[in-house]
């Protein structure tokens, strides 16, 4: 057998590797869309159905909504950490956790997880509660673009114009899918809400960059296991206690910890577990895609969750398909095709020395 035929075989192997990266990006979007639909279903259970904000003043109602949202984020990440941990143990990778945490790249992933989880997700949940989504969504929807630009600057990621157009179309589409025209008042917490929403955008894009950098030297599945575990621990030790104490002290009269306890013991816990399963593996595939396809492509393919969310919502919960939804879904589909059109570009993702 000649070296020429060896080269052909190896080219085919690399192409298969690249296609697996693109498939991972698409799966991350599908699973995140499904996870959102499942977690939405949890709101049909106690205590959410009987928990009403009617008759409460605005501040108290907001405090209850914030507490519920943060509890939901904690439950999601905790269940995701467990599922991903089980998967890594089955794959014979358990010892990689300790080894990775002892290295600087592992510690970078930890910092990324705090930026993306407790800071990014909390900022998003608080921001979207305090500011109308029509104002908050354009800011949070921009995080893939921010990350893609930063990856070009810091990682020297090579992305042709076609990929950039695809990224923009995916972001525009995800914004349109969730867009709802509003004439709502800006409210008393508008400024702080916008700051928190911007924090979410910065947190998520920073997570993508730090984790991608760390995964150059670490297994993506282990990086994600660390990410979900650290995030859940930070929610449990810092975010939930501090937020609960702060909200109870400032937004009484009902102690907010009562809301927290009700959510933690909800009969919808199995639904959260299933949502954590889908969400956890969505992240597994997202991290693999970040490593195998680069930041710009992985981010664009991940935000296709908005398209999949529409499809799952239409099938399982009967959402109305508006004109914005239709245009947004088409924009995402075209963007995803442009982003993944030439897998051979993934053989060498960055300029190198």
């Amino acid at each position: 057998m000649s070296l020429l035929s060896a080269q052909a075989v190896l080219d085919a192997k690399q192409l298969k590797h690249a296609k697996r990266g693109i498939l991972a990006g698409i799966l991350s979007g599908i699973l995140w869309g499904a996870s959102g639909t499942v977690l939405g279903a949890a709101l049909g259970f106690e205590p959410f159905t009987s928990m009403t904000t009617d008759g409460l003043d605005t501040k108290h109602a907001l405090a209850i909504m914030v507490a519920m949202a943060l509890c939901g984020a904690f439950l999601h990440d905790a269940f995701a950490a467990i599922w991903v941990g089980v998967s890594n143990i089955r794959a014979g990778k358990f010892k990689e956790y300790g080894r990775s945490l002892r290295t600087k790249p592992g510690q970078m992933v930890c910092i990324g997880s705090i930026l993306g989880g407790p800071i990014g997700m909390s900022g998003y949940l608080l921001g979207i509660t305090l500011v109308n989504s029509a104002y908050a969504l354009p800011i949070t929807a921009a995080y893939p673009a921010v990350a893609a630009v930063l990856a070009t600057i810091f990682f020297k990621e090579k992305n042709p114009a076609r990929v950039w157009i695809g990224v923009v179309l995916c972001i525009l589409g995800s914004f349109l899918v969730y867009y709802a025209p509003t004439e709502a008042e800006k409210g008393p917490f508008f400024a702080i809400g916008l700051i928190l929403t911007t924090l979410a955008c910065i947190g998520w894009s920073s997570e993508g960059l730090l984790s991608t950098y760390g995964m150059d030297m670490l297994d993506p599945d282990i990086a994600l296991g660390i990410r979900e575990g650290v995030s859940a621990i930070m929610y449990f030790i810092f975010v939930l206690p501090i937020t609960t104490l702060y909200l109870t002290a400032n937004f009484g009269p009902t102690p907010i910890w009562e809301t927290v306890m009700k959510v933690m013991t909800t009969s919808a816990l199995p639904i959260y577990a299933f949502g954590g399963f889908l969400g956890g593996f969505s992240y597994v595939y997202w991290y693999r895609a970040l490593n195998m396809t680069g930041v710009a492509r992985a981010m664009a393919l991940n935000v296709t969750y908005a398209l999949w969310g529409v499809i799952f919502g239409a099938v399982f919960t009967g959402i109305d398909i508006t004109i914005y939804l239709g245009i947004g879904a088409c924009s995402i589909a075209i963007g995803a095709i442009l982003v993944s059109a030439n897998p051979r570009e993934l053989f060498q993702l960055r300029e190198t020395k």
């Binding site: 057998m1 070296l3 035929s5 060896a6 080269q7 075989v9 190896l10 192997k13 690399q14 590797h17 690249a18 089955r90 794959a91 014979g92 990778k93 010892k95 990689e96 080894r99 990775s100 002892r102 290295t103 600087k104 790249p105 592992g106 990682f155 150059d216 030297m217 670490l218 297994d219 282990i222 490593n291 195998m292 993934l346 053989f347 060498q348 993702l349 960055r350 300029e351 190198t352 020395k353």
Partner: protein, 93 residues
């Protein structure tokens, strides 16, 4: 006993080779004693890690060859970018 994550250890090994290309099967054999008891350690996983590290520019694939099982493989060499990343290796290695 292995102290580094497998992917980082591969980069470490290629850095120790001082610019000399190493066959994939030689990398596998060199790390066998450290990782062989673990489910993750296989030729397939090794190739996956190498392709990923190559794609991000830390190593280069050079000169293909056929191994003893007539499988096409690459030889790998560390790049300057890869060398720079070894600054993150623990100091006590």
């Amino acid at each position: 006993m292995a102290v580094l994550p497998l992917r980082f250890r591969i980069l470490h090994l290629l850095n120790q080779a001082d610019g000399k290309p190493i066959k994939m099967t030689e990398i596998y054999k060199a790390l066998y004693d450290e990782y062989s008891g673990e489910g993750q350690f296989s030729l397939e996983m090794m190739e996956h890690h190498l392709m990923s590290i190559k794609a991000v520019g830390l190593i280069d694939a050079v000169e293909p060859y056929f191994d003893e099982n007539k499988e096409a493989r690459y030889q790998y060499v560390i790049t300057q970018t890869g060398r720079e990343r070894t600054k993150y290796l623990p100091k006590d290695l």
